[in-house]
Symmetry: C2
Subunit: 322 residues, 2 copies
């Protein structure tokens, strides 16, 4: 493994110049710069990140903390982060908390001192702890907003409204809401917008696990509540609702319409294909990474709220005549 030292010797310059040629090309004469670049290329020079980080006092790694990597939602965000980070020559350290707040704390303490910035997808960590973490280094929150901190989130309220208007236009007047984890920020956002559309009565089915099984569990409650349509916390839940409904012999959307949230790939594969509020997850990963890069220079911590879009597929239809 060639070192910068060796590159410098090969190029006939000092290590300092070699370093500058690579990191601040503008500060080196064009001729020497070329010599250094050529030598680096020829020797197959690869910077030693540990050395760079140690010497400069800042890490080029980005830490990404997610509750569950196997969840397509977070996996997609992670993919976006990854892509953007690579463009900025930074690497991504991912940590999966397995939905466990205790593990999350531990990971935070472990990870944060060793990364240049942290991307936190943490729907459940108490706000003061998030704020605390932000004092320890650059931090961007994803899918949540905390006053005074940089974040990337989605305009879920308008998504909820769009879904409700869509159902209303189809003649639905009694819509069940299947909630997610009670402590989740984004569940609260969804709930807050539930009353925004007049003429649609909302039946709260309560909080459920944000996975397929949660929807399965909720389906019977929906039927019992006499709703003709459902808005679910996310697609996984919506898919769960749909499969249980179908298993009970009910038709979607003939008997009950179903709307999800997120637009994970499975939403379009399902049959019927799921009508859902699409969140630009990859884009969120991009934005969050970009935000992180500009965080020191930014005056106030920026908050990006990404627009969402209702994707109408086949799981919604006219309300059944009573």
């Amino acid at each position: 493994m060639a070192t910068l030292q060796e590159v410098a010797v090969a190029a006939g310059v000092s290590p300092a110049t070699a370093s500058r040629a690579l990191s601040t090309p503008a500060s080196v004469s064009i001729e020497r710069r070329h010599r250094v670049l050529e030598a680096a290329e020829r020797l197959g020079y690869r910077p030693n990140r540990s050395a760079q980080d140690l010497a400069s006092g800042r890490s080029r790694h980005i830490g990404l903390v997610v509750p569950d990597l196997a969840n397509p939602y977070f996996a997609t965000v992670a993919k976006g982060v990854q892509a953007q980070a690579r463009g900025a020559h930074r690497s991504v350290l991912v940590a999966d908390t397995d939905e466990d707040v205790r593990a999350e704390r531990e990971i935070l303490g472990d990870l944060q001192p060793n990364v240049g910035g942290l991307l936190l997808c943490s729907p459940r960590l108490p706000e003061d702890e998030v704020r605390d973490a932000a004092t320890r280094g650059p931090l961007v929150i994803v899918n949540r907003e905390v006053a005074g901190l940089a974040s990337v989130s989605f305009d879920v309220a308008s998504g909820v409204r769009a879904a409700l208007e869509h159902l209303k236009a189809l003649g639905h007047t009694r819509v069940a809401y299947v909630g997610g984890p009670a402590s989740s920020w984004s569940d609260a956002r969804r709930r807050a917008a539930l009353g925004d559309v007049s003429g649609v009565e909302i039946v709260d089915i309560g909080g459920h696990r944000p996975i397929h099984q949660g929807g399965v569990a909720a389906a019977d409650l929906i039927v019992a509540a006499g709703a003709t349509a459902v808005l679910a916390y996310n697609d996984l839940v919506a898919l769960g609702v749909m499969s249980r409904l179908t298993a009970r012999g009910l038709d979607v959307p003939g008997d009950i319409s179903v709307v999800g949230f997120d637009d994970i790939p499975a939403a379009s594969y399902a049959s019927p294909a799921l009508t859902t509020v699409a969140l630009p997850l990859t884009r969120a990963g991009h934005e969050a990474t970009t935000l992180l890069d500009g965080l020191d220079t930014a005056a106030a911590p920026p908050t990006v709220r990404l627009a969402v879009e209702l994707v109408v597929r086949d799981s919604t239809g006219p309300a059944a005549r009573p």
Copy 2:
């Protein structure tokens, strides 16, 4: 941020002793060890990974290269890797190649010099390049085998046989195989086992993209070929086949039985729920990480071939009478 130096001073020992107390506790007297641990705890000491790596000459990071993080297959492997790595106090650097071999090469060159070991999920990279990478540092291949290199893969042949036997027992005699990417190692493994079950005629539908859309594209060919059952390259493809079949008005499993590979979460959500060959993906992540740790000490590069299991659900049934 407290340094080891400061911890050492606070504990009244030399930096070396402080270092040993933390990394090789056995080599320090019990009393001093306690003093160091206590001081570290009290000062909130966090080791600087860059410094550790630079000084010791080896990185504690694990590099994980996957073709697509948003693919539930790789996301699940990644989760397994992550969990195991954290147990060993190592962090995971993930890189997503976006299914692009050129990007993969670049990532390899970038990543490998800066990690202590590499986990490669790379179905398509030419074998000699994989072998080449292995000379540059500890490397474990996942879901593929290359002679002489450490790897974790699945016993897909027995999975194919189990699927075929299952179909045969249901009376199917003409089974279509929807292949994956032609250059993929695991597609070749599946194909190699296709002839192992006598009494079942295999119709090769050719290679398709290993995603939902690939299955959609293949479905019509299956019908045209007159097969009563399909074995697909993976679940995504199987799901695609199923949705196209259903859209054409065919019944699964009434008219055609479908079997997938992998057992991703969506397989159990689908309706009908997909019969599939389950691969222990999380386990593969664990094993690969464990293998990486023991690689230097191992005599011969270990090859782990994980057992698979046919999960019979609702997408397979008796062959339709001709």
